[in-house]
Amino acid sequence: MRILVIVSQTQDTEAKIEVVSSGDSIDVEGMKWVMNPYDEFAVEEAIQSKEKHGGEVVIIAMGPARALETIRQALAMGADSAVHISDDSFADSDSFATGKVIASEIKKLDEFDIIFTGMKIIDEESGQVGIHVAEELDIPHVSLVSKVVSIDPSGKRVVCQKEIDGGHVIVESPLPCLITCPDAMNEPRYASLPGIMKAKRKPLKTVTIADVKAEELGLTPQSLGKEGARVNTIEIKIPQIERKLRIIKGSAEPMVKGEEVASAARELVEVLREEAKVI
């Protein structure tokens, strides 16, 4: 089975987020870059599928030179080869352009059975790229899959479970198909030391704007990069919510104990009624 995974590198949103002085983008100075956490689930699912059905896992990532770290991590986890679409003209492209370029490279690969990708990227949180790729390739997609129930490579079918409000659905789709991954569908493995060593020797192809032939995709140089985006960010604000931080603690130790419990409970209910006016 030929399994593709579309991965990207993202800003680590556990960090403090600040806006640059022009006010329209996030300050990435000193930012830690990590594999998009949802893509870790995608890579893990791909490797597990390969372990079950045989075949190979191919990583596809678009991004600047630093994205190589993320590609190496995926290879070290157990993927077999990678395509890195790297060119400054792609920087800050919107989800459409990104989807089109990634799809065009996928079309140049040999046949494939299934594509996994993350449900969204945690910095921009656009949640569209994977679905655009599927549309561009004219294959079905199943989003937010909580569990891949079964893959039948010879019968060319996949069955997935997807959570909906108040329950779940089981969806059957023909292959090839693109699946977007939320968290918790599996336990992403860590890259082992031998894995990291091996990753260095795995095939890695680098693709640039010249290889992509943007014009043939209906993408003029102007439609790539920030200028070509269909939607522009004009301003970014950091939400500031002042919290009251009125915490009731115990007297002898931090936890309320014994008699303190009842009075703490009473006090909290009182402030929620009198001060916060929410009950």
Binding site: I164, S173, I236, I247, M255
Partner: protein, 331 residues
């Protein structure tokens, strides 16, 4: 292109229409349609849903396009994508809006790609600029940033909107009901829903709730989640959970609040035995009042809540719930 503004209805499994649709109609009427001078229209897609069309008129829809087709049963992504894309190509609206539900997240980007639209997801504010471009605000960076985004020359301009972001304001109209006249070729629908399992819940839906009571890993069993449900029911609140609690099997997945799960913005959020991770806060950090009960004084949640008790939930919750009960029953 027409200057119609479309709100695509989000239906529940029983065909009834979700609140988010009425919220979007109310907000788009005031902030968009008025300014564009365009008609506010509803779009209703589904199987056996036609009778719900007039409901969209109660919130200002002057026209409702209906596509009632057996293939649209159970939210089949491919069928919906075809239906909405064809309808857009036929009538060329200027703006198309739907709710950012599990389903909206699924088919809306696909429709946008098919019709060549610009699209954003999960907007919390919508209006138009002086030159009639859609302008939205949404969350990014695990909800630590709020970008304002403006659309370009790609039409229609499409966005999903976050439930519970706008006030519902009635404006009763008798809408013109129009058969969308879109054919769906069964051969183009290759995906199949082979099972659909739902459980009725008496509690309010998370995304729409005014109050939410959530439990975390500290509840330590499915059975103990009754503490969460009991308080939720007294407060007429929705019940939520962290991913750690869902993962451990203490409660169903659709209760997950956070970056992956539901985004909520209630007036009261009670977090029981929840540490306060970035990912959990991405889904509830904008709640008006946050209350935390946690036994660890160092838990990050105590740095970002309004009220709290450092204590064992099994000690604190029974008297707390009892006090709330007394208060609520006194009115």
């Amino acid at each position: 292109m027409s200057n119609e503004v479309w709100i695509v209805a989000d239906s529940k499994l029983d065909g009834s229409i979700r609140q988010v649709t009425f919220e979007a109609l109310s907000e788009a009427r005031e902030k968009i349609a008025g300014k564009l001078g365009g008609k506010l229209c509803g779009v209703l897609l589904g199987s056996g849903i036609s009778s719900h069309a007039p409901e969209l008129g109660e919130y200002g829809a002057e026209k409702v396009y209906v596509i009632d087709n057996e293939l649209l049963k159970n939210f089949n992504t491919e069928a919906y994508t075809i239906a909405l894309s064809e309808l857009i190509k036929k009538h060329e609206p200027s703006i198309v809006i739907a709710g950012n539900t599990v389903f909206g997240q699924d088919y809306f980007p696909r429709v946008a790609a098919r019709v060549g639209a610009g699209v954003t997801m999960d907007a919390i504010k919508i209006d138009v600029t002086d030159d009639n471009k859609l302008r939205i605000k949404r969350y990014s960076h695990s909800s630590k940033a709020i970008p304002t985004q403006v659309f370009h020359e790609n039409y229609p301009m499409m966005t999903t909107v976050r439930p519970n972001s706008f006030k519902i304001i009635e404006d009763s109209k008798t809408p013109e009901i129009i058969d969308g006249g879109v054919e769906i070729n069964p051969a183009d629908v290759k995906m199949k829903i082979i099972e659909l399992k739902t459980k009725e819940s008496e509690r309010p839906e998370l995304a729409e709730a005014e109050r939410v009571v959530s439990g975390g890993r500290g509840l330590s069993s499915e059975d103990n989640f009754r503490y969460v449900y009991e308080l939720a029911d007294i407060l007429d609140a929705a019940a939520g959970a962290t991913r750690a609690a869902v993962d451990a099997g203490y409660c169903p997945y659709d209760m997950q609040v956070g970056q992956t799960g539901k985004a909520v913005s209630p007036s009261l959020y009670v977090a029981i035995a929840i540490s306060g991770s970035v990912q959990h806060f991405a889904g509830m950090g904008s709640s008006k009042v946050i209350v935390a009960i946690n036994k660890d004084p160092e838990a990050p949640i105590f740095q970002k809540c309004d009220y709290g008790i450092v204590g064992d939930l099994f000690d604190v919750l029974p008297p707390f719930t009892q006090n709330v009960k007394t208060l609520v029953s006194e009115g």
